[in-house]
Symmetry: C2
Subunit: 432 residues, 2 copies
């Protein structure tokens, strides 16, 4: 039986889950793999907090440096999140010849290149399955099972908080703020949910997925990001009537020498597999040139699912140690391929548009004319009868059009005196 000594930095929710998993399922893991995981040391700045797992006090420390410099530790697990000191702990551990497992999407999307290069230099590994999609093995699948494929596209629902909010808005007609408050009460949203609802969290995850799929580093700061805070219940209801679900998507598309990477809400056709991903669940829909359409679905967060992914990474490295494999799967492609990140203005997709206009003859003609001048062709249009309001909504779905054209058209339309409110634009993804 091969013993693997694990040092844990961060004894919070996920860290506690990892400890629980090793204690409760360590025997199962040993039977399956011939590897026995041993907790060498656990560091946290707060050792007094009540945790529902008991560890020998001698294992606990407030000093993470003791772990990254511990000669006996094979694998350092970083679960404190954030950029610093996580980055420093990871780099020091790697330089000390230790493998690293992390769930930290922020540090990877920002400092991934430095971290992976340091790992390669010191002949050790960094695994990070839990950084995207909780327990879903999307990182491993992209790094290993999909190796024979040119990845054509990735569409991910990778933020459970946003998906919960959008689910409640669509299925139960809650407003954005009511759904957000409920998500907070249920523990699905943090006290400050900004990174979840403004798309930052999704963009960090997309940077990791897109970089893997493209064999080319995608800088998280260059990803176009739009959150869901401006999505109204009204637009979700109109979209549903038209047969679409509104989802916050992390989208990447890949060509021979270019990459698109963007995060924004999107109308997804009802018959698309992503349209049926509800609540806090995550799902990543991937298209490969050989595999075709695939979807990976599961819990994107939570103590136990995240712990499952972290321990799977520990076991993965343990298997390499046991079988004396070094650099079995490259963290960076053996030959990096430079790809151009397509500016948002150049993308082409379909659009949902909602105009708020005065109910007067010729308004639709004016709007249509501006769309036509910008080479935007309409595939469906609905104008509602006026009830109490002074203005009426016109909803339009477009055929595929250039983002730059849409922006130009909307700017012109919004300056018309018959248009009473800023027009709404939500992109459509996942259709023909």
């Amino acid at each position: 039986m091969k013993k693997i000594r694990v040092g844990l930095i961060g004894f919070g929710t996920v860290g506690t889950g990892v400890v629980k998993n090793i204690l409760s399922n360590g025997e199962l893991i040993a039977q399956r793999t011939g590897i026995r995981l041993e907790l060498a040391r656990v560091a946290d700045i707060d050792l007094k907090r009540e945790r529902d797992v008991k560890l020998d006090a001698s294992l606990l420390t407030t000093d993470a440096c003791k772990i990254v410099h511990d000669q006996s530790v094979d694998i350092v697990v970083e679960l404190i999140g954030g950029l610093s000191p996580a980055r420093e702990y990871i780099l020091t551990a790697l330089r000390n010849g230790k493998h690293v497992v992390t769930a930290n999407k922020a540090v990877l999307s920002k400092h991934g290149l430095e971290i992976f290069e340091t790992a390669r230099e010191h002949n050790v590994e960094v695994l990070y399955e839990a950084s995207v999609g909780g327990c879903i093995p999307i990182i491993k699948s992209l790094r290993e099972s999909l190796t024979p494929n040119n990845i054509l596209s990735i569409d991910g629902i990778v933020n459970g908080t946003s998906n919960y909010i959008l689910t409640r808005m669509q299925q139960d007609e809650l407003s954005f703020s009511a759904a957000l408050e409920e998500a907070k009460r249920k523990g699905y949203a943090e006290a400050d949910p900004s990174f979840d609802v403004n798309g930052t969290d999704s963009a960090q995850k997309l940077a990791i997925l897109a970089s893997l799929a493209a064999n080319s580093w995608i800088d998280v700061d260059e990803i176009y990001v739009e959150g869901i805070t401006h999505i109204t219940q009204k637009d979700i209801a109109y979209a549903a009537e038209l047969g679409y679900s509104v989802k916050l998507l992390a989208i990447a598309k890949f060509g021979a020498d270019w990459v698109q990477a963007r995060v924004h809400p999107a109308l997804v056709p009802g018959d698309h597999p992503l349209a049926d991903v509800w609540g806090v669940f995550n799902a990543i829909y991937v298209v490969g040139d050989y595999a075709g359409e695939m979807m990976f679905y599961g819990a994107g967060a939570g103590q136990k699912p995240t712990a499952s992914a972290v321990v799977a990474d520990i076991v993965d490295i343990g298997r390499n140690i046991k079988s004396a494999a070094r650099k079995r799967v490259s963290s960076l492609p053996e030959v990096a391929m430079a790809k151009r990140l397509v500016p948002m203005e150049e993308i082409e997709t379909r659009y949902y548009l909602r105009f708020t206009v005065i109910d007067r003859p010729g308004v639709l003609a004016k709007i249509s004319a501006i769309l036509g001048e910008n080479n935007i062709s309409i595939s469906a249009v609905t104008q509602r009868e006026r009830h109490a309001e002074s203005a009426v909504p016109i909803m339009a779905l477009t055929h595929s059009a250039k983002e730059a054209s849409i922006r130009a058209a909307l700017s012109k339309i919004d300056s018309l005196d018959v248009v009473k409110d800023k027009s709404v634009m939500i992109r459509i993804e996942g259709g023909e």
Copy 2:
């Protein structure tokens, strides 16, 4: 660049896909992995058939023995299917120190133990991702990503032909035979589709999945198997009215010392992720004690998706060869765990029942009484008004009940003189 020499036995649809993938994406694979795949030799009994890929004639042979004994071959890929001579080729290759990749569910579900033991003995590997779910990385996920989990259940739609037929029956009201004929015309069903529609194919795949999840060999011949040939459009329509989809499921459930393994059609609640898997797609829904609910979705068959899985296995072994890893992931658990296969009579689940009765007072009371005597409690019941027919249908959904009780009750009910036809029973899965 590490060269890996691949010998291919079986140059049919999937074999051609593997050759195409290596030719078209070999450079991509090399850039990602530092491994160059080389086709050493390709064997097929028919070398004259038209194939849409050109190979140098010197690579082709009709004699598979040349491949399994070729000193220069690192990995033998077996794609001829069936039990013999596939088993002999695989065993000989392993004994000659070659790794094996196969897509052959029949030989693995029947001779898997022998094959895996031979591989272990000769310190080589057998990978078989393509044997279940086409391109879906379910085998790798069970063997690696889910290692920290006690797998609690697996529910798989693993036969695309059956799922296509059931989809057309549910969505377009086709009869079973019309849907089957259409599937044949479209190439989704073979000339003899018996193994697909009678559940044999699903049972072979389930044996593989359940054995992996249970760490215990499940004999395919002991799996309860019921196909879809007796499913009528009428029952699919009634199920849909009640909010259920009918799917052919490969089901395994796991306890500390027992396993359930069964293949049969089942009513799946409309809000279950499997309910939205349509057409020829496959999906495997797995519940782990840490990961929770997961679903893996993709193309379960087809030249390119299957080739993707086969080449991923080749690359996986190539990575082990390159990094000098031996026995990195055990084909068999390090410590095998004996588990009892639960007889079908002992399972407990919910049931959909349809009785065909004479429209006469007291009939429902008689049926209810028999169900009650057998401890079967009804959760919903619908009796239709009689139209032209001489008999009327009564549909009932039960709470959880023992299979033995249901069988006893149905046998008694079917002997009532007011019951005009054999009662229909379809199990319900995926609910509370």
